[in-house]
Subunit: 343 residues, 2 copies
């Protein structure tokens, strides 16, 4: 059932039927009703391909999942972020186009999105400092919203981020208040912008109390469980081990816990741990009382909001790029306590 057939059945022109269905004013309300009813009855849905060609809009948003050829990691954060964004798209009648490409092909994919007219905009994931994608997308005129920020960008651009620096500064302060002085930082890859900001928050808090940084306590890598475990095991084996850990995600935090318990120590009593918690749906931080003390910010909600910002930007191309900074809550759980010197 297509437009022509439907209009034939109704004894109207395709023009009128199209207008009736799309809510244009130049059609009689009675006629509109009749058309609507017929469309429903015959289960008519306009062909997406034709709409897209005719309007020049793709009615789709692109997300690129970069798969690093080095470590082959699929960021577990994506699933929830995309679920959030997807809810927004579905509501607005947009499709979500997911492209899995090796990281060095990313700009090629953006270019192809553009020249093929496959999407109306994109979300940029996991920005690094001075991320080249921002200038590139601006240049080719592709609307975008960055999930995170990219220190070093000159021109304004649209972004949505968590206040990572403040969150980690507060978390560090909290540990310092508990008497901890040797605090390890188990961070993400430090070319990532979020990791840079978190480290900066950590450093600021220490500096404020006149403490010197110990580079030996600062680790940085892809945020897997194994990484958390390995880091913590090595750190706990030091002659002067840390009494607290500040961790960038629940997943390495679980690895840290494994190392701590393997050593016969107990979190919250012998060792303190604060992690960032993205509220991943399958990895809730406990049910009533949080397992880990955590800086908390829902990545799913971030996805919803970023998608809304992008759709708005597409609808109003020459608006000033919207930005939004979310604050993370500091939730006290069972993994922190006063500093104790280890036996």
């Amino acid at each position: 059932m297509n437009l022509k057939e439907l209009s034939l059945k109704l004894g109207l022109s395709p023009t009128t039927v199209s207008r009736a269905l799309n809510g244009y004013p130049e059609v009689n309300e009675a006629t509109r009703e009749r058309v609507m009813a017929a469309a429903r009855r015959h289960n008519y849905h306009p062909n997406t391909r034709a709409i897209r060609l005719a309007t020049g809009r793709a009615m789709a948003i692109g997300h690129i999942v970069p798969v690093s050829t080095k470590h082959e990691i699929v960021n577990p954060i994506f699933a929830d972020f995309i679920a959030g964004a997807g809810e927004t798209y579905t509501r607005a009648g947009y499709d979500l186009l997911l492209s899995v490409v090796s990281d060095q092909d990313e700009t090629r994919t953006y270019r192809s999105f553009k020249s093929r007219g496959a999407v109306d905009g994109v979300i940029v994931h996991a920005p690094s400092a001075d991320d080249p994608r921002i200038a590139f997308l601006t240049e080719i005129g592709m609307p975008f919203v960055v999930h995170g920020r990219a220190t070093g960008a000159t021109a304004p651009y649209a972004w949505l981020d968590v206040n990572n620096r403040r969150a980690f500064r507060r978390a560090t302060d909290f540990l310092l208040d508990l008497g901890h002085r040797r605090i390890a930082l188990i961070n993400g890859l430090e070319y990532m912008d979020f990791a840079i900001r978190r480290r900066s928050g950590y450093e600021m808090a220490l500096a404020e109390r006149g403490l010197v940084l110990d580079p030996g306590l600062m680790h940085s890598d892809e945020m897997t469980e194994s990484y958390g475990y390995r880091s913590a095991r090595n750190l706990l084996a030091l002659p002067d081990p840390p009494t607290a850990f500040l961790v960038s995600s629940m997943i390495p935090a679980i690895g840290v816990r494994r190392a701590v318990e393997e050593r016969g120590l107990k979190l919250g009593r012998d060792i303190s741990l604060i992690t960032h918690d993205d509220e991943l749906s399958y990895l809730r931080n406990g049910e009533d009382v949080p397992i880990f003390t955590a800086t908390r910010s829902s990545v799913r909600e971030a996805g919803r909001l970023a998608a809304e910002m992008l759709l708005e930007l597409i609808a109003t191309p020459d608006m000033t790029p919207p930005t939004r900074l979310l604050e993370a809550e500091l939730m006290v759980g069972l993994s922190t306590g006063p500093a104790r010197t280890l036996p």
Copy 2:
């Protein structure tokens, strides 16, 4: 730059240019070269929307991420499965359309995919027993491959699955051989087909040794960390607690470990645990020696293979539906040992 402009520049008709680029034989090789070179030089990419309308093919595959309104869980397996499938699509020039819909809207989404002509085929995730989607998709003539199987389907359909029954039977046998008699099963939701098969494997192994099932040892729920923790904590508090756990995924297994250690027990010594391991990229089961003894099967590889099957099915519509059964390896790790009676 579009086809008409390019053909004008070349002094050829759009027909010839199109044919040259698409490898049709009725064009001079010299001309083809010339066209190819010009296309590259002017960075010409045919407009996807126009191709889709003209050919009637969507050049896209749909994946539906059902978000249960009850528990709001995003299956963490998706991320890796989709990454695998996405690799195949990218290589074949297909797009991946992701739709996030609440579970009761799923068939509506399939219908809309069909009538809008948005995709050429779909992957069906997480089938339940007698999954209605299979009959439905067959009826509307939408090519599909099921990731998993649906006991109870009558007509043949395309699927790719892990031999869950055999895997869990072997795992149970392994525990029995170690002397365990009270083995808890921490399963996924039991309307899911994979969970039914795993349970069946577990039951078969017990029955074979003449052991009676204890329903009190069998839990079933959405596979989150909290669920694993809660189940294990309750089970370990029983007067006659299990000495071993058989778990459906790494994520609840981590919860089980938390409960075990909280009780001051040690995995592999006091309590044995075998989990299924999907080889999630961010949650590797240890680096050299597996943390958990596990039945292992890469879900990412499954994604790659399922996508290949689907593309094949789309290219050859009246082939008999392909099927593929993957065997899981049983990897011995540090979480299993001979049965010990607890103090």
